[in-house]
């Protein structure tokens, strides 16, 4: 080992600004395999789901409408929103991973302001979620267009709508990524938080939305999926009928408000706890 000579010529370790804390959290995310692994899950699940949906389209066995209809094309291009749930899972792992791996100690030694760490993690969750949104949408679009073209059907969805769905998918996954960070801060058990994300998104929202149709547009996962063009409720197990999704701006504001409110609750409760 090298002989130690003090003092070493190191720069002064100033308190990190917010942009630097975001860079720290991004570096932490990109220096482990989990984020890439979840991206691979998006890249696999999305085309698998889209292919299955396209194969069943028009068969009349509870599958999507035929591919020569707007409804059928909408389902296969905008329905495979696995990237949304995976974005939430990513967010959960970004925050709860600090406690699973006991890395919170080093994190808070480097940046003692815990609220800024939480905010930076939410930003990184949103960035990661947006990347998943891009990957998920491009994959779904490519597979959906391939099936439509292979059957010789004309694309009935305009370029403007497709662009809106893409923007909505990225916005939805970004906001769900940030919400996932908040969930992982409130529920420090990573396993419980991840299971909770799936149970809430796929089961509880379907149940609540099925029982109380009027609240369906305001449920976070449902609202996020409608941003991506998914018909209300189709991303769960209870497609809604007779209830309109929230407008784009309202759904975006709702998700942002949920992330902010949850973040404030976390900042005043779990984030303050002793790191023992």
């Amino acid at each position: 080992m090298t002989e130690l000579v003090f003092p070493v010529d190191a720069p002064r370790a100033r308190r990190a600004g917010f942009a630097r804390i975001v860079r720290i959290e991004l570096l932490k995310l990109t220096s482990t395999r989990l984020g890439y692994g979840l991206l691979a899950v998006v890249a696999v699940l999305t085309p698998v789901w889209t292919s299955i949906a396209a194969s069943r389209a028009g068969t009349g066995s509870g599958g999507p409408q035929p591919l020569y209809t707007v409804a059928g094309q909408t389902t296969i291009i905008a329905g495979g929103v696995w990237s949304m749930i995976i974005a939430m899972v990513l967010g959960v792992t970004i925050s709860s991973g600090e406690f699973r791996h006991h890395t919170a100690t080093n994190t808070y030694l480097a940046v003692p302001d815990r609220n800024r760490v939480l905010a930076a993690k939410a930003v990184v969750g949103a960035i990661g979620g947006a990347v998943y949104g891009v990957a998920g949408y491009l994959t779904a679009l490519a597979v959906g267009l391939s099936f439509t073209g292979a059957h010789g059907y004309r694309l009935l969805i305009g370029a403007g709508t497709l662009a809106d769905w893409g923007i909505g998918r990225i916005m939805g996954t970004a906001l769900l990524g940030a919400i996932g960070v908040v969930v992982g801060s409130l529920v420090r058990s990573q396993l419980a938080a991840v299971v909770g994300v799936f149970v809430w998104s796929l089961l509880l929202e379907s149940l609540i939305g099925g029982l109380f149709g009027a609240v369906r547009p305001y449920l976070p996962y449902s609202a996020a999926t409608t941003l991506a063009g998914t018909p209300l409720g189709e991303a769960g197990f209870s497609p809604a009928s007779g209830v309109a999704p929230l407008p784009f701006a309202a759904a975006t504001a709702l998700l942002a408000a949920i992330a902010l409110a949850g973040g404030l609750v976390a900042a005043r409760t779990t984030v303050r706890r002793d790191i023992t």
């Binding site: 080992m1 070493v8 720069p11 630097r20 570096l27 890395t103």
Partner: protein
């Protein structure tokens, strides 16, 4: 260089009082051993000092400020608290790049401290495959990266081989000789006796004794420290 000051510190976990009115100072240019039996409150005190645990009463400061208010925290204090406190999927080099970014340090500084702790050859291995001793070395590299004025170490010799223990002793002595402040908790009393200038002995969250090793042991060295430790903690528990 910075002074550590603990004054009237109290911390309760439910019905258990982990730290009970503890006060002591650690001065620059010294290596101070922080000794006590299991459950004496050592780790809790160190975590309060580092802003990780909140105190119910009293103060714990570095250079006159609580850790959370230090303007340059990584430069003012480096700490090794948990051998397992690294993401198992991250490499040692990536871990230190994260620390360098937080410390406003050049990435080359990560290479310097990797070399310093003898981990250059393992720099691109994932930490999950590291031995306890390698994790301790990585912890020391993380703590030293920003050239801190104070070192706060909780059982740093755990898992180190004899060569590593000797290297650590030299590191701490060299750090103090340059004016640094070192507070090190350990159960290895014979090793502590060879390394430290003075000791703080606690039991049941209270101060039992504080002073230069020679004064407390009457000049009896390592064996004397062990005997003194048991005698003082026995008296305190009675």
């Amino acid at each position: 260089m910075a002074t550590i000051q603990i004054h009237g510190l109290v911390k309760r976990f439910g019905a258990v009082t982990a730290v009970n009115g503890l006060s002591f100072d650690v001065t620059p240019g010294t290596v101070t051993g922080f000794l006590g039996p299991n459950g004496a409150g050592k780790t809790t005190t160190l975590r309060i000092l580092l802003g990780l645990v909140s105190a119910d009463a009293g103060t714990a400061t570095i250079d006159g400020l609580p850790y959370r208010e230090l303007p340059e925290p990584l430069h003012q204090a480096g700490a090794v608290l948990e051998a397992a406190g690294f993401h198992p999927g991250r490499t040692a080099r990536a871990q230190l790049r994260v620390q360098a970014l937080a410390a406003h340090a050049d990435e080359s500084r990560a290479e310097d401290v990797l070399d310093l702790v003898g981990l250059t050859a393992a720099a691109d291995r994932r930490i999950g495959g590291f031995s306890l001793g390698m994790r301790q070395r990585l912890g020391l590299a993380t703590a030293l990266l920003a050239d801190p004025e104070v070192l706060i170490l909780d059982e740093p010799a755990n898992g180190l081989d004899p060569e590593g223990v000797r290297w650590l002793r030299g590191l701490l002595r060299g750090f103090a000789a340059e004016g640094g402040t070192v507070l090190v908790s350990s159960h290895l009393l014979a090793e502590v006796a060879q390394t430290v200038d003075s000791v703080v002995i606690v039991d049941g969250g209270r101060l039992v004794a504080q002073g230069p090793v020679g004064e407390l042991t009457g000049g009896a060295g390592g064996a004397g420290l062990e005997e003194t430790f048991f005698q003082l903690t026995r008296e305190a528990s009675q």
